[in-house]
């Protein structure tokens, strides 16, 4: 038996997540990487319910539940407070959903990033307001069904490029993760923990309830999102140095990803073709962003060898 991620469990069984919840997997992996010396600031999101009601919690690290738009600002305050109390080791983590990050919390997050406060911000992205009952957020992909983007009028605009926005703040570390790639996620969260300043981690976390998909396909869908290039795994150092972590040798067509989800069941062949074109275009763009950077990495490597 060989474990590929740390054995320590800081997330307790008995929590209130739905069956096959991606957000819960994300938390489990993040805490395995972060360890005990962690405090979380959690705004309104699925995790404010998953954690459990007063007087219980599902986590063995402290949580400060805070208002919807304040994951980052409350975390900045906690970090400053801990530092003034003489605690310079504890990692303060803002843990928010896509609504709390892409929409209502973006101002506070931008503020913390611009100040380069020494916090880690982890967004678990299930691509809609799931806790309130599946309403569209700016993380919802184009043409997706939600209760506020019904099938005969699905979402018209593309998913917001949150990673691009965070990179534009030139913070030291930005990374995308997927619950289908726990080893990659653990590595990135540890890297973020070892980095001074503001870190942003964007975790793709399928929601069977909101995506109208079978609970057992949670990890499969997350993996397909990477293999179809819908959700690429990459890192950005200092806002400019891109590194793509997974380059699918034979990318799968997006059909394989969308056909497993009820939220896309209304799509026509033409719709899917259009999605494929956008995905391909975005991937090419990402490759271009990473091109020069990889050279730089190689150059650095060569220099080290000398």
């Amino acid at each position: 038996m060989k474990l590929t991620i740390p054995e320590q469990e800081l997330m307790q069984s008995g929590h209130l997540a739905c069956q096959g919840c991606g957000a819960t997997l994300a938390m489990r992996y993040a805490l395995k990487a972060l360890g005990q010396n962690t405090v979380l600031s959690i705004p309104a999101c699925c995790w404010s319910v998953i954690d459990g009601p007063f007087p219980y919690s599902s986590l063995k690290v402290p949580i400060f539940h805070t208002a919807f738009e304040t994951a980052a600002s409350a975390a900045s305050g906690m970090e400053a407070g801990l530092e003034m109390m003489g605690d310079k080791d504890t990692q303060v983590v803002a843990w928010a959903g896509d609504g709390g990050t892409f929409d209502i919390g973006i101002q506070a997050l931008s503020g913390a990033a611009e100040r380069n406060d020494n916090i880690m911000y982890i967004c678990y992205d299930n691509e809609a307001y799931m806790n309130t009952g599946i309403q569209r957020s700016s993380a919802t992909p184009r043409l997706s069904w939600t209760t506020t983007t019904p099938e005969n009028h699905p979402k018209e605009t593309p998913k917001k490029d949150m990673v691009g926005i965070m990179a534009a703040h030139r913070i030291p570390y930005v990374a995308t993760c997927s619950v289908a790639y726990p080893e990659d996620m653990v590595k990135k969260v540890k890297k973020a923990k070892d980095t001074q300043g503001c870190k942003f981690i964007h975790v793709f976390a399928p929601c069977p309830t909101g995506w109208r998909s079978a609970p057992e396909t949670c990890v499969k869908l997350a993996r397909l999102a990477v293999q179809t290039k819908v959700f690429p795994l990459y890192e950005i150092f200092n806002g400019v140095d891109y590194k793509i972590n997974v380059k699918p040798a034979k990318p799968k067509p997006v059909t394989e990803y969308v056909k497993l989800q009820g939220r896309f069941r209304h799509l026509t062949e033409a719709d899917i073709k259009q999605i494929q074109r956008t995905v391909d275009w975005e991937w090419e763009r990402l490759l271009k962003m990473a091109e020069g950077c990889e050279e730089t990495e190689e150059k650095k490597g060569k220099k080290k060898k000398k």
């Binding site: 038996m1 060989k2 474990l3 590929t4 991620i5 054995e7 469990e9 997330m11 307790q12 069984s13 008995g14 929590h15 209130l16 997540a17 069956q19 096959g20 919840c21 991606g22 819960t24 997997l25 489990r28 954690d51 459990g52 007063f54 007087p55 219980y56 919690s57 599902s58 063995k60 949580i63 726990p182 069977p208 609970p215 057992e216 396909t217 949670c218 990890v219 499969k220």
Partner: protein, 93 residues
């Protein structure tokens, strides 16, 4: 195991809502419709099922994965992800 905490009234409460124990008293196994069952003949102890369990209820006992049915909600990610098809699905009574 956290016992259910007895809060009768305000005198038993802290100043604000806060956790005084863990959720482990909450046996989510009762949510389950379908039960994953590990066939230890086929199991290679790769621990992929343990890795992908969103309820952290596949335990490691003597280097083997053991499903804790007290908490298993029956999402069946383990059965889906098992590379050896060593986890079968049984309907709960």
């Amino acid at each position: 195991m956290t016992e259910k905490i007895d809060i009768k009234g305000e005198k038993d409460m802290p100043a604000m809502a806060m956790s005084l124990g863990l959720m482990d008293w909450n046996k989510t196994g009762s949510w389950r419709n379908l039960r994953p069952v590990i066939d230890y003949e086929k199991c290679t102890r790769c621990m992929i099922c343990w890795k992908f369990c969103p309820d952290a209820c596949i335990l490691i006992r003597d280097e083997e994965p053991v499903i804790d049915y007290d908490y298993c909600k029956g999402c069946l990610i383990c059965a889906e992800e098992c590379p050896r098809d060593a986890i079968s699905v049984v309907k709960e009574e």
